[in-house]
């Protein structure tokens, strides 16, 4: 009897789950398998693929074959794009931390009934269109933009500073659009922080810096790690921000991938690059899960 109702409950559960799972398998997870298959095929002349096994795409991720004498060498173009993606994502994460940590601290030390409003102020930009926020940054740093006009108007410079279409522009843009993702988890970790610990530290003649480093930081560290991952991962896969603010000159991984499906007409290479990006993201996530797990162990 109990057995029968158990099976019934299981059937009901999977029936309820089926619409969500079917949509996700069809339009999110399932197609990822096809990307893996495509990365082992031969590119078609006008895009698409020819169904012939080949590992060329995977070689081409880091190596290029000379057009004339077939010698192999490291692909400088791809490696420099990989390097730029990692470098700019790390810089974005670092700057977001430097600004985001004090901000989260500020919000967590407001009176209880005011904190939600401050957090809402952080979250509103996050829920507004990423493209629009990127565009807003572009309008600020353009040659005819606010910053340059202001500096020229004040007579500090007489030629506009070229900020748009540089690595600086991309980093600034990514910092701007992903900053709330840093503040949110640090705030969540800090909100429950017990300030009597800080009082105890001051009673023991600790300096402010020491209190910050030795008392507050260790306790909110899981939030910092979470925030760093949340900023680093979308930065690494960013497409819109480098496209708009890099202007097709400073490519990042996302743009390199897109190129293979557009002008490049090398779908298998695009597929292999996508899987590479996915692998880096997964490694970052695993590091995060491990680190979070270890934190729990040491505090539990």
């Amino acid at each position: 009897m109990a057995q029968a109702s158990d099976t019934q409950a299981t059937r009901r559960r999977w029936l309820l789950l089926s619409p969500a799972l079917l949509i996700l398998l069809f339009a999110a997870s399932g197609p990822l398998l096809i990307v893996v298959i495509y990365s082992f095929l031969t590119p078609g002349d006008y895009g698409g693929v020819i169904w012939k096994f080949s590992t060329d795409a995977w070689f081409n991720v880091v190596v290029e074959r000379d057009f004339f004498d077939d010698t192999l060498s490291f692909s400088d173009a791809h490696l420099s794009i990989f390097w730029r993606s990692v470098k700019l994502s790390l810089m974005t994460t670092l700057v977001a931390f430097i600004v985001g940590f004090p901000t989260a601290y500020f919000i967590a030390t407001r009176p209880k009934d005011k904190r939600d409003i401050w957090m809402l102020l952080i979250m509103i930009p996050f829920w507004t269109n990423l493209l629009i926020r990127t565009f807003a940054v572009m309008e600020i740093i353009r040659n005819e933009g606010v910053v340059n006009s202001l500096l020229i108007g004040l007579g500090i410079i007489d030629q506009p500073i070229q900020m748009l279409f540089t690595e600086f522009a991309i980093t600034l843009g990514m910092f701007y659009v992903y900053l709330p993702l840093m503040v949110l988890p640090i705030y969540a970790a800090m909100e429950r922080f017990d300030f009597s610990l800080v009082e105890a530290a001051y009673d023991l003649y600790a300096s402010r810096w020491r209190v910050l480093r030795r008392v507050i930081f260790p306790i909110v560290k899981p939030g910092v790690i979470a925030g760093s991952i949340l900023v680093f991962v979308p930065s690494l896969g960013a497409y819109v921000t480098p496209r708009v603010l890099g202007g097709g000159k400073q490519l990042m991984l996302g743009n390199l991938i897109e190129l293979q499906f557009g002008q490049g007409r090398n779908w298998p290479l695009g597929a292999a690059l996508s899987i590479t990006l996915l692998a880096i993201v997964m490694i970052a996530l695993i590091i995060y899960v491990r680190a979070a797990g270890r934190e729990e162990m040491s505090h539990g």
Partner: protein, 273 residues
Amino acid sequence: MAKSRAFDVRRQTGFVPIALLCFLVLYLPIILLVVYSFNAGQSIAIWEGFSWQWYVKAWQNEKVQDATILSLIIATSASVIATSAAVMAALATTRTRGFRGYTFVFALINQPLMIPEIVTAVALLIFFAMIKVATGYTGLMYLIIAHSAFCIPFAYMPIRARLQGMDLNLEQAGADLYGTPWRVFRRVTLPQLWPGVLAGSMLAFVISLDDVVITEFVKSAGQDTLPTYMLGQMRRVISPEVNAISTALLAISVALVIAFYLLSKGGPQKNRE
């Protein structure tokens, strides 16, 4: 002012200025964008007087009209589909003992949050290209299904949170009074769940309305939504029309997010302090 008080254990040197600067940095670009969408001139730096002209121009632009209609159709459909699926999934995964396959289900539902959007976009481009060749269908359903998929986790979260805070006794009572499961759901569960459903569908709507990357890769020719139309316009010379469209989109998002905030604040799962 702080000095007149006793030693403040919460103070850290320089944190307050950085935080205030942070809010300034977050809002200044957006505010400038909004202000200059009402500028009579072309520039974002020189104010030439108030004017509605860019709104009028955008409104009369047929491409903008088409893109707006398409954006609304897709966002509405995706929001309805994602929310319905999310309600069912939330009913199946909350208030129950752990079950076999739970980790798999949870990972699958949250997958759109973890995988870089560009990877999903490429995957869908390839997969839908295969279907397009096989069936010849190039309509809107590709975009609607793709949007529904990545909206599911956003709809799921608030609904699940609401369900977890709900009292099981009322449903038990409904069942004891010989209510059929459907009747109990409609008359007891759904009315309590409603704020969560509304919040979830609003989040899904905003997420769909704002999507650029997946739409850009999945759309067939002539299927521009507002964001992909704007992305296409962002070359060297940008018409302030884009400012006007941006401001309109911002207004919609901000209104929905504030409504979402008020809805989820009023929930029973929030214990009053």
